[in-house]
Symmetry: C2
Subunit: 344 residues, 2 copies
């Protein structure tokens, strides 16, 4: 049903490099946008802080008990840390297989009883780096988060725009946030057990590359050259793919590449094991092999098509392959292309 | 790469029928849960309403201007309709192909320029009913919403639990809400252009079936027996699948069936056209054909495994097939089974 085709890849999205930024994570609650889309509006946090100031001013007046009650309500809305965070669930120390509605891991631990995975809880020991938090990377990050991965490192230099809303994951109220911050906001609400690291940087710049390499090497132990178990490339241009390839070759780090075609209906995943498989520079897609400069593919006022369906399928296949690789079950796929225009 | 296998399907989730309910849609902002997970907590809406009552009481005191300012703030937080909706973006009258960051439809309209779809904007004329808003249905609903479908009808009788958090879509702060209400909350924030209809009911009950049938027939015109263009079955048990089959046979309504195996690593989609293809009662999966009562498959304390990957892939294939059917491009797949344990 799935057939292999040669695909053209999008160069869209490769905006001019920006320098490394460390933006504080915004509030988890919804912003109260009344401005036109695209312009940042007062956040829920700002509103609530203003409300608190007004209430403090009102303290000069009688009935302090009532006012204290209001203060308590507002503080409760704003969450324990003072940020207007969506109160979600407390952290869970050990993954349990108990079948109760309140156990977020029951359906995952059931993979053991079903004979698919030997030791599911081992997933907590693993760290995965996701380069590119767009239509594929954001969904892959959400899947790994919901699966209870130990640690996720997220890299992107872009910000959320309304033009991203045709793919899964980002919400209109996150427009203007960096993609990594918006992702951390959403993912930490979904599963507070996952350690999230957010890198808003462009890995193709000298400084960005250094930070990228350093973050992969951090926490290395037992003679391993990196502190991560897998790198997932979810970027939308070759330059970035070649940089991931370079970093992983230097560090002898296994990684998986993914991509979706410009016409939105095809995609691929590819496993790369330095020293075992051909590296990405030696086994690139056809369009690169034919020596076309991808920058010539990008034209003003023209954007590539994209669909949440293809992006979701590629993310699903990528993370399925990652789970098989990390948890050692089934057969890890070395290369897979989907072409959905004919029969899916 | 994809191979066809016979799969066993989950009977889990077929809780005792509940009567039809019409719960008001809860607040879009985060609930302020301080209670243990699994117990409903005061919602943001309730908190804000209580705050308003206190403020009204304070009105008896001096400085009404300051209090009015507070009221305005709270009302602004609560959104235009009085519900604490996350203000997102305003509705968009016509889909534009303009390539600007603020256009949520640019990447979809690009499907026309890429030669994939003749007239993408036609998607706004279509209505799709999704039966079952679980691991597959909720993601299918989000994909169609982000694609800008005209109208979505959602059916489910269940509530959100932490045990659902291993699949995409629902958030921990939605625990305790009906799945249809939680879905409407999330989807209306993502794309206010989509008309959403929420039916919290069990279609396998007499009353639920009547409401289900009535809602499909509503808005019928031009000699058509229903007001919807496609029904997607995303339920987790045969009884419900047979009810969808019965309704669609009665109404001569084209539908697509979907499912994921109990061991979480296989799934299928199937196209059913009354009067053309065999109906679901004549072409059921192997386990039904062999006459096993699915209720015997369900054992206390045992839950089926599920993965966001397989669910996401099945939802993606289902909606891709739906888009091809509705927008008339490519080849609509009559049947597709994925088995990911071997090579994805």
């Amino acid at each position: 049903v799935f057939i292999v085709v040669s695909t053209k890849y999008s160069a869209v999205g490769s905006s001019p490099p920006r320098s490394t930024r460390h933006t504080p994570i915004q509030t988890a609650a919804a912003s109260t946008r009344t401005d036109p889309p695209g312009r940042p509006a007062a956040t829920m946090e700002e509103e609530l802080h203003a409300l608190l100031r007004d209430l403090d001013a009102l303290k000069q007046l009688p009935d302090p008990a009532s006012i204290d009650r209001m203060r308590d309500r507002v503080v409760k809305m704003m969450g324990p840390s003072g940020a207007a965070a969506a109160a979600t669930r407390s952290k869970i120390k050990d993954m349990s297989a108990e079948v109760v509605d309140s156990n977020p891991y029951s359906r995952l631990m059931a993979l053991q009883r079903m004979g698919i995975v030997d030791n599911y809880e081992r997933i907590r020991d693993y760290s995965v780096a996701i380069v590119g938090v767009g239509g594929v990377g954001s969904v892959a990050a959400e899947m790994l988060t919901r699966c209870g991965i130990g640690r996720l490192l997220l890299y992107d230099y872009d910000t959320v725009e309304l033009a991203n809303m045709n793919r899964l994951f980002f919400r209109p109220d996150q427009v203007g946030m960096t993609k990594t911050d918006a992702a951390v906001q959403t993912l930490s609400e979904i599963n507070p057990d996952v350690v999230l690291e957010s890198y808003s940087l462009n890995i193709t710049t000298v400084k960005g590359f250094e930070t990228f390499l350093g973050s992969l090497k951090a926490r290395s132990s037992n003679g391993r050259s990196t502190g991560v178990d897998l790198v997932l490339s979810c970027v939308d241009n070759y330059e970035a793919r070649m940089v991931v390839n370079q970093a992983c070759n230097e560090l002898r780090q296994t990684w998986m590449e993914s991509g979706v075609s410009e016409d939105a209906v095809s995609g691929h995943i590819q496993l790369l094991v330095p020293g075992e498989t051909a590296c990405f520079a030696c086994a690139p897609p056809l369009v690169v092999a034919s020596g076309v400069d991808e920058r010539t593919l990008k034209r003003d006022g023209v954007c590539a098509a994209s669909l949440p369906t293809t992006m979701g399928v590629v993310a699903g296949l990528l993370v399925q392959n990652s789970l098989k690789y990390l948890l050692k079950f089934g057969q890890v796929s070395p290369y897979l292309v989907i072409a959905s225009i004919e029969l899916l």
